[in-house]
C-alpha cells in the first residue's frame, strides 16, 4: 500500500485516491476544428513512457481535489506532486 501525498491533506494510503490518466492533455479548445484523425488521437492516444510520467489523481475519499503528479512507471516512486494551479516541475 503506497502512500500518496495529497497536496492538501498530506500522505495518505493509495486506497483513498483515484487515478485520472495522463495529465496535461487539455481538452481541445475547438474540437470542431479538428479532423477526425486529430480528434481520435485526442480521445484514444496517451503516452506510455518507461520512467517519469505526469498523471492526474484525485483524493477521492479525502478532500475531493484533483491534482497532478510525476510518477516513475518503473519504480512507482512519486517524484513530484503539484496542485493544478502549479506548473509541471522539470523532470529528467
Amino acid at each position: 500500500m503506497q502512500l500518496i501525498t495529497c497536496p492538501y491533506c498530506g500522505p495518505r494510503e493509495e486506497a483513498e485516491f483515484h487515478y485520472g490518466g495522463q495529465a496535461h492533455v487539455p481538452h481541445p479548445a475547438d474540437p470542431g476544428s479538428l479532423s477526425d484523425e486529430e480528434w481520435a488521437h485526442h480521445l484514444f492516444f496517451r503516452d506510455n513512457p518507461r520512467g517519469p510520467f505526469a498523471e492526474r489523481w484525485v483524493h477521492a475519499l479525502g478532500c475531493r481535489r484533483w491534482f497532478n503528479a510525476v510518477r516513475d512507471t518503473v519504480s512507482y516512486r512519486f517524484h513530484h506532486i503539484y496542485r493544478l494551479d502549479q506548473a509541471r516541475p522539470e523532470t529528467p
Partner: protein, 970 residues
C-alpha cells in the same frame, strides 16, 4: 517416555505435562515445546513422506526454514500445511505428517481474525541480539518503536546458544532488555509476530499468532486459556518511517547423496533443540561442516551426553581452538573430508565419509549461513554475492530501510550487538532523534577460527538422490536437466525444477540452487544471482488476510432511510452497487413473477410507491452553474426555467452515454442533478474533474446530497389523489402543476418524535425550534404514468413515506420494487445506463436524438458524433423484441441472429438482448435489444437462440406501451 529429554535445562516447563497425538500415537510434551521438539524428545524424527517420491522425511531444522516437517493439525481445528517446527505444543493437540498436501476443514472456522494499523518511527524486525539492541537504542532516544519477532519469546539465536553478554547468560540480558522496552509507552513489542511482507513507503505486514499457544478451554490443564473474544490471528499493518531488518540468518545445508533421510538436520537446529527445549536430537552423532559454527553443536551435544563420532570438516585447515575442544571430548575431527552418502530408510543409520562407514542416528550439517534478506529484497533492495560468506547480502543502501546483524552477514554476537546499535543510530539521525549515551552490551570474546569454505554440493554419487529442494523432491539431476533443456537464468531454473516454490519458499534451497546451477553452467554464482523474494515470507492463511472483512462486513450494505419499513414489509432485495433495494414485495404464496405482475398492474391501474432514495443527487451552485451543466449534458440546460425539470443525458468525450437523469433548476444559480444509483460517485468525480482541471474559471460548487434527500416516486393514475391528500396546499392539477415541473411545499414537524437525542448541555446553546419540513414534489415519470416524485429531508423520510402509504390506502397504494420499476420503464423504452448501454452506445443509438442539442456550440462528446464510426448505418440501435410466442421469455444477454436456421460459423451476430420482462399491461413477454441497424428492421422477424432452439421474434418500435404518451398527465 521422553527418552531424549534431558533432566534439566531449556526453556520448557517440566512441571506441566501436555498430552498430544501425532500420526495416531499418544505422546507427551511440555509448555514451551514446539510439536517438533516434543517429537524429538521421543526420538521421533520422521514426520511423513515426500510429495513425489514418497521418501521418508523428518525434522531438519528448528524453525521456519525447515523444508520437511509438514504437518496437518486435526484438533483443535483442522489446519493444513504447517511446520512441526513452528507449531507450539498445546494440550490435546492432534496432528499428522502430510506428504506435501493437507486438507481444509469442512466446517466454517469460528475463530476471529482481525487487523490493526500501527505507526512507528522505527520498525525493528527480529528481537534477537541485533534487533533488541536497535530497539533499545531507538526507544531510549524517544522514538516510537515497533519490534516484532516470530518466536514465542525474544532472543532469536540466543535462545539456542550458550552465549554470554555482560558477563552473564545472554538470556538474562535479553530479559532485561525486554523489560526495559516494556517500560516505554511508545514501544510496541510483539512476539509470535512474523513480518511477512515489506512493501512501499515503510509498509510492513506482520501476522501475530495470538491464541493458539493458549490451548482451547476444553484442553487446558491450568493457567491461561484462549479467550473467545480475542482474535486468533491478527495482521498488523505497520507503517514505519524507517524499517530495520534484523531477521538473522538461516543455516544452509550441503547437498550430497541421500541427504534427505530422517535424522539429517541443520547443526544449529540441533543446538536449539538442546539448549531451548532440553532435547538431544540423537545419541550417535556425526557433524558435517564447511565452517566453524557447527563445532559448537558437536561440543554442546557431546557435553549433553551424546556420542559424537566425528566432525567431518570439508576444509583442510581446521580451527585450532575448536579442534582442541573436540579433542578434549574425544571427538575425532576429519579435516578435508566430505560426506558422500548415507544409509537408513526410516532414519539415518550411517554416514559414508571417504569410503569409511560411520554408524549414527543423527547427521548434523552446516554449509554456512544465508542472511535472511527476504524482507529487504521484497521492498526492492538489491543483493550482492559475498564470496567469503558464500551468500547473498544486501547490496546498496535504500532510503528508509536498513539491514543489520546476521541478516547483513555479521557472524558473531559482539558484531551483531554493535551493528544493531549502529543501524538504529543511523536511522534515528535521519528521523531527527538524538541517540542517548548508554553503555553497549559486551559479548564474551569470539573464538577465532578459520574462514568458511563455500561448498554447495558433494558431487560423488547419484545426482537423483542429491536433494536441493526437499519439499519439492527436486535434485541436482533436475537442475542439470533444466540446464540441459537450455535454461540459463536462475529464474528459469526455478520454474523448470520448481525449486523454491514450495511452502518454505526455498529458505534452504534457493541459494543452493543458484550455486549448483552456477557450477553446472561454469559461471560465477554472483553473476547468476538469486530468484526474487516475494511476500509472504511464511505462509499466511486467507482467513487472516480477510480479517473482519467477511460475512456481512465483506462489502458495506448501503440502506435508505426507509429500509426498516421494507424489511417489515418482507421485501426481497436486489443489490444495486452497494445498495440494498427492494426488488419486490411478495404476498404470501407469490413468487417473483406473480409479485411483479401484480405490482405492475397496480401501478398502471391505480397507484404505487417506490423508494428511489438511492438515486444520486448533486447540488450544483454558483453563477456559472447553468453554463457548467450546459457543457456536460448533451441537451440544453441553460434554458431550463426555475421551477422546471429536464431529462438530461451525459456522454463521455467519446460520445458514449455514461449517465442520465433529471435536472431541476432550483434558482438562477442553483440546480439539483439526479444521477443513476450506481453512477452517483463516478458522476460527481467526473463533474469535479472537468470543473477543476478544465474549467477552473467557472464559479460552480458541487455537493453530494444523495443521502440528504429521500426520493419516493408515487406513480399511477391515482397518484394525484394521494399527493393531493398529503399535500393539501399544493394545487396538483395538470394546469397548475404540469409535467416536468417541481413545486416546494412544507409539512409540520414534531421534534419530540421517537428519537431520544438530547443536546449535550455541556456545550450550551439552545435546541432547534420546531419548524416546517420542506418537501419538493416533481412531476417526472419513469413509467409513462402520471407520477409525482416526493423528495424530503431524510430526517423525516420514514414519516413522510408512512404518511403517503396511509393516504394511499384507500386507493390501494402498492409499494413496488426495482423489478416492477424495470418492467414499467422498459415498456416505455427508457434505457438503464449500464444495462441497455455498455460504453459503446450513443444517445442516437438509444433513439434519443431529441436529447442531443443541435444548437449548443459545445458539450462534452459533441465532436465524436461526427466521427465516421458514429455515422455508420449499421450501428446497434435500441429496439423492442416481441417473441412470436407471447409467453416465451428471452434471457437477457441472448444473441440476436438473422435465422431461421443457424448458418455455418462464423455466425453473423445482429446484437443482443439487454432487458427482458413479462408485461402485465401487454399480457405478453417483451425485450429490449441492441440490434444492428435495428430501426430499419422494425417489423422484420429475427431469431434468438433460447435453450437450444432458434425462436422467432419480431423487431418492434422500442416503446411497446402507450406510445402516444396519453397516460402521462393522468
Amino acid at each position: 517416555m521422553n527418552a531424549l529429554r534431558l533432566p534439566a535445562g531449556g526453556r520448557i516447563d517440566r512441571s506441566t505435562t501436555y498430552e498430544f497425538t501425532f500420526n495416531g500415537q499418544r505422546l507427551t510434551g511440555h509448555p514451551g515445546d514446539t510439536l517438533a521438539s516434543a517429537l524429538l524428545a521421543h526420538g521421533i524424527h520422521r514426520t511423513g513422506t515426500s510429495i513425489k517420491l514418497g521418501r521418508p522425511r523428518g525434522i531438519a531444522a528448528a524453525w521456519a526454514e525447515d523444508p520437511n516437517g509438514l504437518i496437518q493439525i486435526e484438533e483443535p481445528f483442522p489446519e493444513p500445511m504447517l511446520l512441526a517446527t513452528t507449531v507450539e505444543l498445546t494440550d490435546g493437540l492432534t496432528a499428522r505428517g502430510i506428504p506435501g498436501q493437507g486438507r481444509l476443514a469442512d466446517v466454517p472456522d469460528s475463530a476471529r481474525y482481525d487487523a490493526r494499523h500501527s505507526h512507528a518511527d522505527l520498525l525493528v524486525i527480529g528481537a534477537g541480539p541485533t534487533g533488541l539492541c536497535a530497539a533499545l537504542t531507538a526507544a531510549r532516544a524517544g522514538a516510537r518503536v515497533v519490534l516484532v519477532d516470530e518466536q514465542s519469546e525474544a532472543g532469536g539465536y540466543l535462545l539456542g546458544s550458550t552465549d554470554r553478554i555482560d558477563g552473564g547468560p545472554a538470556l538474562d540480558w535479553v530479559a532485561a532488555a525486554t523489560a526495559e522496552l516494556a517500560g516505554f509507552a511508545d514501544v510496541l513489542h510483539l512476539q509470535r509476530t512474523t513480518a511477512f511482507g515489506h512493501f512501499d513507503d515503510g509498509f510492513v505486514l506482520a501476522l501475530e499468532r495470538r491464541t493458539d499457544h493458549l490451548g482451547t478451554p476444553t484442553h487446558v490443564l491450568g493457567g491461561e486459556t484462549a479467550p473467545p473474544h480475542k482474535s486468533r490471528q491478527r495482521v498488523w499493518r505497520i507503517r514505519a518511517r524507517h524499517v530495520l531488518v534484523a531477521a538473522g540468518a538461516h543455516e544452509r545445508p550441503v547437498v550430497f547423496s541421500d541427504n534427505d533421510r530422517p535424522g539429517i538436520m541443520l547443526a544449529g537446529g540441533a543446538r536449539t533443540y538442546l539448549h531451548r527445549y532440553g532435547v538431544l536430537a540423537g545419541r550417535d552423532v556425526v557433524v558435517f561442516t564447511t565452517n566453524d559454527s557447527a563445532y559448537a553443536a558437536a561440543v554442546d551435544l557431546a557435553d549433553a551426553g551424546a556420542r559424537v563420532h566425528a566432525v567431518v570438516d570439508a576444509r583442510a585447515a581446521t580451527p585450532a581452538a575448536w579442534v582442541q575442544k573436540c579433542v578434549r571430548r574425544g571427538i575425532p575431527v576429519r579435516a578435508g573430508r566430505l560426506v558422500t552418502g548415507t544409509e537408513g530408510v526410516e532414519r539415518i543409520t550411517a554416514v559414508a565419509v571417504a569410503g569409511e562407514r560411520i554408524p549414527c542416528d543423527l547427521l548434523l550439517v552446516s554449509g554456512g549461513w544465508n542472511p535472511a534478506v527476504h524482507l529487504f529484497s521484497q521492498a526492492g533492495g538489491t543483493l550482492r554475492y559475498d564470496g567469503g560468506l558464500g551468500a547473498f547480502v544486501p547490496g546498496e543502501e535504500r532510503d528508509g530501510v536498513s539491514v543489520a546483524g546476521g541478516a547483513a552477514g555479521v557472524a558473531e554476537l559482539g558484531g551483531c550487538l554493535a551493528d544493531g546499535r549502529r543501524a538504529a543510530e543511523g536511522a534515528l539521525g535521519g528521523l531527527g532523534f538524538v541517540p542517548v549515551d548508554s553503555p553497549s552490551p559486551v559479548a564474551e570474546a569470539h573464538v577465532d577460527g578459520q574462514p568458511s569454505l563455500v561448498l554447495w554440493r558433494v558431487a560423488d554419487g547419484d545426482q537423483r538422490t542429491q536433494f536441493v529442494d526437499l519439499q519439492r523432491d527436486a535434485t541436482v539431476a533436475d537442475i542439470a536437466c533444466a540446464i540441459g533443456a537450455g535454461m540459463r537464468t536462475v529464474e528459469h531454473v526455478k520454474r523448470y525444477t520448481t525449486i523454491g516454490t514450495a511452502h518454505d519458499q526455498g529458505k534452504t534451497s534457493g541459494v543452493l540452487a543458484s550455486g549448483i546451477a552456477a557450477e553446472l553452467l561454469g559461471r560465477p554464482v554472483g553473476e547468476l544471482g538469486t530468484t526474487t523474494f516475494r511476500p509472504p515470507y511464511t505462509p499466511v492463511a486467507f482467513a487472516a488476510l480477510a480479517g473482519r472483512d467477511r460475512g456481512s462486513l465483506f462489502d458495506p450494505e448501503r440502506t435508505t432511510a426507509v429500509h426498516a419499513w421494507h424489511v417489515a414489509r418482507g421485501a426481497v432485495w436486489e443489490d444495486v452497487g452497494q445498495w440494498k433495494r427492494p426488488r419486490y414485495y411478495p404476498l404470501p404464496g407469490e413468487d417473483m413473477e406473480a409479485a411483479v405482475l401484480r405490482e405492475c398492474a397496480a401501478v398502471r391501474g391505480g397507484v404505487g410507491i417506490l423508494d428511489g432514495s438511492t438515486l444520486g443527487k448533486i447540488d450544483v451552485q454558483g453563477p456559472d452553474a447553468a453554463e457548467f451543466l450546459n457543457r456536460l449534458y448533451t441537451n440544453m440546460i441553460a434554458t431550463l426555467k426555475v421551477g422546471s425539470v429536464r431529462y438530461g443525458v451525459m456522454c463521455g468525450a467519446d460520445g458514449m452515454v455514461i449517465d442520465d437523469g433529471t435536472v431541476l433548476r432550483l434558482a438562477g444559480d442553483r440546480f439539483l442533478v439526479y444521477t443513476t444509483t450506481g453512477g452517483a460517485a463516478a458522476v460527481l468525480e467526473w463533474m469535479e474533474e472537468w470543473l477543476q482541471t478544465e474549467w477552473p474559471d467557472l464559479r460552480v460548487y458541487l455537493t453530494s446530497v444523495t443521502e440528504q434527500w429521500a426520493t419516493f416516486p408515487v406513480v399511477g393514475p391515482r397518484s394525484r389523489d394521494v399527493i393531493g391528500t398529503v399535500f393539501p396546499d399544493v394545487d396538483v392539477s395538470n394546469a397548475a402543476f404540469p409535467f416536468m415541473t417541481w413545486r416546494d411545499t412544507v409539512l409540520g414537524s414534531n421534534r419530540s418524535g421517537h428519537d431520544a437525542s438530547t443536546p449535550r448541555s455541556a456545550r450550551g446553546g439552545r435546541p432547534a425550534p420546531d419548524q416546517d419540513v420542506p418537501v419538493r414534489l416533481a412531476r417526472v415519470s419513469f413509467s409513462g404514468e402520471l407520477a409525482y416524485e416526493v423528495n424530503v429531508d431524510s430526517w423525516y423520510a420514514r414519516a413522510v413515506w408512512e404518511r403517503l402509504v396511509a393516504a394511499g390506502e384507500r386507493h390501494g397504494i402498492t409499494p413496488y420494487g426495482t423489478e416492477t420499476m424495470h418492467v414499467l420503464r422498459a415498456e416505455k423504452a427508457y434505457p438503464i445506463v449500464g444495462q441497455d448501454t455498455d460504453g459503446t452506445v450513443t444517445p442516437h443509438d438509444l433513439g434519443m436524438s431529441w436529447a442531443v442539442s443541435k444548437k449548443k456550440p459545445f458539450f462534452v462528446g459533441k465532436r465524436s458524433f461526427h466521427r465516421a464510426d458514429n455515422q455508420r448505418a449499421d450501428r446497434k440501435q435500441l429496439v423492442a423484441l416481441l417473441p412470436v410466442d407471447r409467453n416465451l421469455f428471452l434471457p437477457e444477454g441472448s444473441q440476436v441472429i438473422e435465422g431461421p436456421s443457424v448458418p455455418e460459423p462464423p455466425i453473423p451476430m445482429l446484437g443482443h438482448v439487454t432487458s427482458s420482462y413479462r408485461s402485465a399491461a401487454l399480457e405478453r413477454t417483451f425485450a429490449l435489444a441492441l440490434v444492428k441497424a435495428g430501426r430499419t428492421r422494425i417489423g422484420e422477424t429475427v431469431h434468438v437462440p433460447v435453450a437450444g432452439a432458434l425462436v422467432p421474434v419480431e423487431v418492434a418500435e422500442p416503446v411497446v406501451f402507450d406510445p402516444e404518451g396519453a397516460r402521462r398527465d393522468g
